[in-house]
C-alpha cells in the first residue's frame, strides 16, 4: 500500500517538474540565464545585479526585443555557495537550455561553473573579479569587472605616490580574497612594496578585532589593504576604527557600493579604493567617453530601482549588453557565433570602461578606466 503511494508520489513529483519545465516552450525567445549571490555574504553584490538584469531585460522586451525576439531571463540564487552555483549552472544548461549565461557574482561561483559551460559550450559572461577567470583564457568564458591584479596595482601605485612602502594585508578566505592575496603578493614584489603582515578573515566573521589587534601591534606597517567583498570588509572597517588604528586603509573594488558606506557608517571615512568610473560619474571630466553612458545608467537605476547604483550593478549591465550586442551581431543565438562575436567586441563603452576583447583577452579593460576614490562625508570622492 505504502509502495503504491510512494510510486504515485514520485510520479506526480516528476510529472509536475516536467510540466513546469515544458510549460515555458512558447514563441522563440532568447534565453539568458543567470546565477547570482542574491543572499549570503556577497548579497550586496548579487542583489543589485539581479535587479539590473531584470530591469534591462524588461526594457529591451518592451522595446521589441532583440531582432524581434523577446529575451527570457532565468535567475537563480546561489546563496554564495559555489556547489549550488554549479548545480544551477547545470540546471540552466540542461533544463532551461539557455543560449548564454550572464552571472556568477563571486569568483568561486564562476569557477565552479566554468568546467560545465566549457563542456556544454555555452557562452558565459562572469561578473566576478579575480584574474583566474580569464587567465588562462577559456574559450567560452568572459568577464566584465576589473581584475584583482589591476586593483592591487592601482592601490600600490597610490601608496608609492604617498611615499608608503610597507603594507599590512588582510584578505578574505573567499575565492576573490584568496586570488586577491596572491596577486597582491606578486604585484608587491614588482612594485617594490614590502608586505609586513599577511592575515585572513572569514567572509561571515562578525568580529575581526583579533586580526586587527595583531596588525595594530605591528610597528612596521604603514598602510593596510583589505581584500574582500560584500559585508566582510564593512565589518573590518568598523573594527578598524574601533581599535583606533591610525594607518591609511585601502579596500579593493569588491566594496564599490553605497551599501558598503551605509553598513560601515562613519567608519568608512577616508577609506581609499580603486573603482570603476560609475561611482564617481559626476566627477569625471566631460572628455571621458564613459561619462554619458554612466550618467544614463545611473539615472535609470535611481529612477527604477532606487538608491545609488553600485559598480556591481554596472557589471551586470555591461554583461547583459555585451551578450545582447553579440547576439545582434551574430544574427541569432547560435552559441558558437555568439561566442565569436563576444570575443570580437571592440570599443564597447560600458560602466566599467571601454571594452576591447580579443582571443587573448576575455575582459578587454585597461587600467585607465580604473579610478582611485576615497570616501568623504559618506560619498565617493575621485582621487585620480
Amino acid at each position: 500500500m505504502a509502495n503504491r503511494l510512494f510510486t504515485s508520489l514520485m510520479a506526480a513529483g516528476a510529472l509536475a517538474l516536467g510540466l513546469a519545465a515544458g510549460a515555458a516552450q512558447a514563441a522563440d525567445p532568447i534565453r539568458i540565464g543567470s546565477f547570482l549571490s542574491v543572499t549570503g555574504p556577497a548579497s550586496f553584490l548579487g542583489e543589485p545585479e539581479k535587479k539590473v538584469l531584470e530591469l534591462y531585460v524588461d526594457r529591451i522586451n518592451k522595446a521589441g526585443g532583440v531582432d524581434g525576439r523577446p529575451i527570457r531571463l532565468t535567475v537563480y540564487d546561489d546563496g554564495g555557495d559555489a556547489a549550488k552555483a554549479a548545480g544551477f549552472a547545470k540546471r540552466l544548461i540542461d533544463s532551461d537550455k539557455v543560449d548564454v549565461i550572464v552571472g556568477g557574482t563571486t569568483t568561486a561561483a564562476t569557477m565552479a561553473a566554468v568546467p560545465l559551460v566549457e563542456r556544454a559550450e555555452v557562452p558565459f559572461i562572469s561578473l566576478a573579479g579575480a584574474v583566474v577567470i580569464v587567465e588562462p583564457v577559456k574559450p567560452w568564458v568572459f568577464k566584465t569587472p576589473h581584475t584583482d591584479r589591476m586593483a592591487a596595482e592601482k592601490v600600490m601605485a597610490d601608496m608609492t605616490k604617498r611615499g608608503l612602502s610597507r603594507l599590512a594585508l588582510l584578505s578574505e578566505d573567499s575565492g576573490f580574497g584568496k586570488s586577491g592575496r596572491a596577486e597582491t603578493l606578486k604585484v608587491a614584489k614588482d612594485m617594490g612594496i614590502t608586505v609586513v603582515a599577511d592575515e585572513t578573515y572569514g567572509a561571515k566573521d562578525t568580529d575581526v578585532t583579533p586580526q586587527l589587534t595583531k596588525i595594530r601591534s605591528n610597528k612596521e606597517a604603514q598602510a593596510v589593504l583589505v581584500f574582500g567583498l560584500g559585508q566582510g570588509p564593512a565589518m573590518v572597517t568598523k573594527n578598524y576604527r574601533q581599535l583606533a588604528i591610525e594607518l591609511p586603509i585601502y579596500q579593493s573594488h569588491g566594496v564599490a557600493s553605497m551599501e558598503f558606506i551605509r553598513l560601515a557608517g562613519g567608519a568608512a571615512e577616508n577609506v581609499r579604493l580603486p573603482a570603476a568610473g560609475l561611482v564617481v560619474a559626476d566627477q569625471l571630466p566631460d572628455s571621458d567617453p564613459q561619462k554619458r553612458v554612466v550618467a544614463e545608467f545611473s539615472k535609470l537605476y535611481i529612477d527604477h530601482i532606487g538608491g545609488e547604483p553600485s559598480t556591481f550593478a554596472g557589471h551586470a549591465y555591461d554583461g547583459l549588453m555585451l551578450a545582447v550586442e553579440a547576439i545582434r551581431r551574430a544574427g541569432g543565438t547560435d552559441r558558437a557565433r555568439v561566442r565569436d562575436e563576444i570575443e570580437k567586441t571592440k570599443g564597447y563603452i560600458g560602466t566599467g570602461g571601454v571594452v576591447n576583447m580579443s582571443p587573448t583577452d576575455h575582459m578587454g579593460l585597461g587600467l585607465d578606466a580604473f579610478h582611485m576614490v576615497e570616501i568623504k562625508q559618506g560619498t565617493w570622492k575621485l582621487v585620480d
Partner: protein, 291 residues
C-alpha cells in the same frame, strides 16, 4: 602584551553576554517544557532586524526595540501554542525538527518582511572608542554588558522572588505536582517562550550595532547559546550565564592567540571536552538512572 590580552578579553565578554542571554533563553524553555528551542536564535534576529530597520525608517530606537520585543514574544507564544503544546508527547528528535521548522519559517518571514540584505543600526551612544589601559572599547559593548546584566538580574528576581516565577520553577521540577497544586502548566510553557523571546530580542537589538543585522544573524548566536546552556547544565539558568561568558571569552582568546579561523570551533571543542568528563555539563544535576 597586556593591552592585547585585555582587548581580547573585552570582546569576549561582550559577545559572551549575548551567548549568556541566548543560553538563558534555552534554559527557561527547557525547564518549562523539556524542549530545546532551535528557534532561539531567530528571536535575537527579530530583535536586531526590527531595531535596525525601524530606526532606519525614522522610528525612535526605544520604540523600535519595543516593537521587536513584542514581535519576538508573539512569535514565541505562537510557536508554543500551535506546535509545542500540540506535540507534547513527540520524541526528542521530532521536537527538535519542529523548532527547526519554526526557525526556518521565522527566517523566511524575516526575508519577506525585511529583505535579505545586511542592515546597520547606529550605535546607541556613538562610535568613539574608549581607551582602557591600552585596549579600545566601544560604548556599544558597555550597552551590551549593562543590558545583559539588567536582564539576567531581572530574570533571577522573577524566578526567585515572584509567585509566577516560583510556579514556573516548581513546574520544571515536577510537572504533575505543579498541576495538582493548581499551577496552569500550559500557561507556564507559554510564559517561558515569551520570556525567552524577550531576552533574545533585546539581546539582538543591543548587539546589532556590533554585528550588523541580517536574517541569518541568529543562527550561530543561537547555536552558541545552546552550547552555553549545555555547558552550564541544561535547565540551570545561572549555569547558562556562566557558560555563555566562558564560551565568549574562550572564543576571543582562542581567536587572538591560537587561530582566528577556528574561532567558531572553539566553543564546540570546549563543550565536547566538558561532556566527555561531565556528561551533564558543568553544573548539571548528576544522578544515577533509576531502574
Amino acid at each position: 602584551m597586556f593591552a592585547e590580552f585585555l582587548q581580547y578579553l573585552l570582546s569576549g565578554i561582550t559577545i559572551g553576554a549575548i551567548y549568556a542571554l541566548a543560553g538563558l533563553g534555552f534554559s527557561i524553555i527547557y525547564n518549562a517544557s523539556h524542549v530545546i528551542n532551535f528557534a532561539q536564535g531567530e528571536f535575537i534576529m527579530i530583535g536586531g532586524m526590527s531595531a535596525a530597520t525601524l530606526t532606519a525608517a525614522g522610528v525612535p530606537l526605544p520604540l523600535a526595540m519595543l516593537f521587536g520585543l513584542a514581535a519576538a514574544m508573539l512569535g514565541g507564544v505562537l510557536i508554543a501554542k500551535f506546535t509545542i503544546e500540540r506535540a507534547r508527547n513527540a520524541s526528542v528528535v521530532t521536537l527538535i525538527i519542529i523548532t527547526i521548522g519554526a526557525s526556518i519559517f521565522l527566517r523566511g518571514l524575516a526575508e519577506v518582511v525585511w529583505g535579505k540584505e545586511f542592515h546597520r543600526l547606529a550605535a546607541f551612544s556613538g562610535d568613539d572608542p574608549i581607551a582602557v589601559m591600552g585596549a579600545a572599547v566601544l560604548p556599544q559593548s558597555l550597552w551590551v554588558l549593562g543590558v545583559a546584566l539588567v536582564l539576567i538580574a531581572a530574570t533571577g528576581f522573577f524566578f526567585n522572588r515572584t509567585l509566577a516565577g516560583k510556579a514556573m520553577l516548581a513546574t520544571s521540577h515536577n510537572r504533575l505536582a505543579a498541576q495538582l497544586v493548581g499551577i496552569n502548566v500550559r500557561g507556564v510553557v507559554l510564559v517561558a517562550f515569551a520570556l525567552s523571546a524577550a531576552l533574545g530580542a533585546v539581546g539582538g537589538a543591543v548587539v546589532a550595532p556590533i554585528t550588523f543585522s541580517y536574517t541569518e544573524m541568529g543562527i550561530m548566536l543561537g547555536l552558541k547559546g545552546f552550547t552555553a546552556a549545555v555547558l552550564g547544565g541544561l535547565g540551570n539558568g545561572a549555569g547558562a550565564v556562566v557558560g555563555g561568558l566562558l564560551v565568549g571569552i574562550a572564543e576571543a582568546l582562542g581567536a587572538g592567540y591560537i587561530s582566528s579561523a577556528y574561532k567558531d570551533a572553539i566553543a564546540f571543542v570546549i563543550i565536547l571536552l566538558v561532556l566527555m568528563f561531565l556528561p551533564n555539563g558543568l553544573f548539571g544535576k548528576r544522578g544515577t538512572e533509576r531502574v
